[in-house]
């Protein structure tokens, strides 16, 4: 019984690890930075409106460049 529960818990954990981190850990870390920046800049409306989308673009650029085919 406990072995079966352990198996399901492990499969559940593996699903979330693959979903959140998988082979692009930089996206996971980058999104934490984006959300952190949104929280930090919530009282600076103009800065938040500009910087939060730009940070998302920076995460995308970094991850896409990292995933390129190398010579």
């Amino acid at each position: 019984m406990s072995a079966a529960i352990g198996k399901y818990v492990s499969a559940f954990g593996r699903f979330w690890w693959d979903f959140l981190v998988g082979d692009t850990p930089e996206v996971f870390v980058g999104v934490l930075v984006v959300v952190g920046a949104a929280l930090a800049l919530r009282h600076e409306r103009a800065a938040a409106v500009v910087l939060v989308p730009l940070l998302a673009v920076a995460v995308l650029a970094m991850s896409t460049y990292r995933g390129r085919k190398r010579a």
Binding site: F15, F19, L20, G22, T24, V27, F28, G30, V31, L32, V34, V35, A38, L39, L41, R42, H43, R45, A48, V49, V52, P53, A56, V57, V59, L60, A61, S63, T64, Y65, G67, R68, K69, R70, A71
Partner: protein
């Protein structure tokens, strides 16, 4: 109103993309192991996914504070959207092979083709392998749809609408699948995935900011501005990434290496 329409479009497109992938597996299972088991596996998976939406989505809306929900869900949407967008840019710029439903179909059929022992199984009998393969295909592809429905639906308090948009996509893709049978490679999956990636990323930025307390100019209308912004970013990123292809300087500007080029160079 604007965000509701964009939300429904995003859920519909995301569900359609995932369901095309699931349909490939169901058709492969049906043609090799029998349609009865493939349909039963599909039906059980759809019921299980609907139960998850009901069991998790309703408590999410009623028990979790909306600001917390939006920050967490904004983050999840960003992870999902950026991953889809990254993959679509890499595919469009030639850094990654295009998603090939025909190849996936052929591989699944080869794996499922009954051997000597299975050859006696009648197409009308129940087949455990066919059931499990169809169930897993629909359930695993559908889990991403469930996450999108729960994320977009609960953060905007439109869970019913989001579920209806996903349901409509399932019905339409299944209907088209019946008509076109194995011609799933005709579906412009990469373009759809790029569109969905842009919408999920835009919603992710919007909800993460909104939940954190950022007041977007124009409120919901800023979602459209974010979508336009990420469309522009993607349009710029594809040609820039093409330039980083190995041997790009020897090619004509703007050309993408074909699979024949890749095969010849390997």
């Amino acid at each position: 109103m604007t965000s509701t329409i964009v939300l429904m479009l995003a859920v519909f497109a995301a569900s359609a993309v995932e369901m095309v992938e699931a349909l490939t597996i169901v058709v492969a299972s049906g043609t090799t192991r029998g349609w009865r088991s493939a349909f039963e596996g599909t039906a059980v998976a759809v019921v299980a996914l609907a139960a998850i939406v009901g069991a998790v989505g309703v408590p999410l809306i009623h028990l979790v504070p909306i600001a917390v929900l939006r920050v967490v869900i904004g983050g999840l949407l960003l992870i999902l959207g950026l991953a889809w967008l990254r993959k679509a840019i890499l595919r469009s710029s030639g850094h990654k092979a295009m998603h090939d439903e025909d190849a996936i179909y052929a591989k699944t059929v080869a794996e499922l083709a009954p051997g000597e022992a299975g050859a006696t199984t009648s197409r009308r009998q129940r087949d455990a392998v066919g059931f499990v393969v169809a169930f897993k295909g629909v359930f695993l592809e559908g889990m991403e749809v469930v996450l999108i429905v729960l994320s977009l639906g609960s953060s905007s308090h439109h869970l019913g609408l989001a579920a209806a948009a996903a349901g409509a996509a399932v019905v339409i893709v299944a209907g088209v699948g019946i008509v076109v049978a194995r011609q799933l490679s005709e579906v412009p999956e990469n373009s759809m995935k790029m569109g969905v990636g842009i919408m999920l990323t835009s919603f992710g930025v919007f909800w993460a900011g909104e939940g954190a307390g950022v007041h977007w100019p124009g409120s919901d209308l800023s979602i459209l501005a974010l979508i336009a912004f990420f469309v522009a970013v993607t349009s710029l990123a594809i040609p820039l990434m093409r330039r980083t292809l190995p041997g790009a300087e020897r090619r004509e500007p703007g050309s993408v290496p074909s699979r024949l080029d890749e095969a010849a160079s390997s």
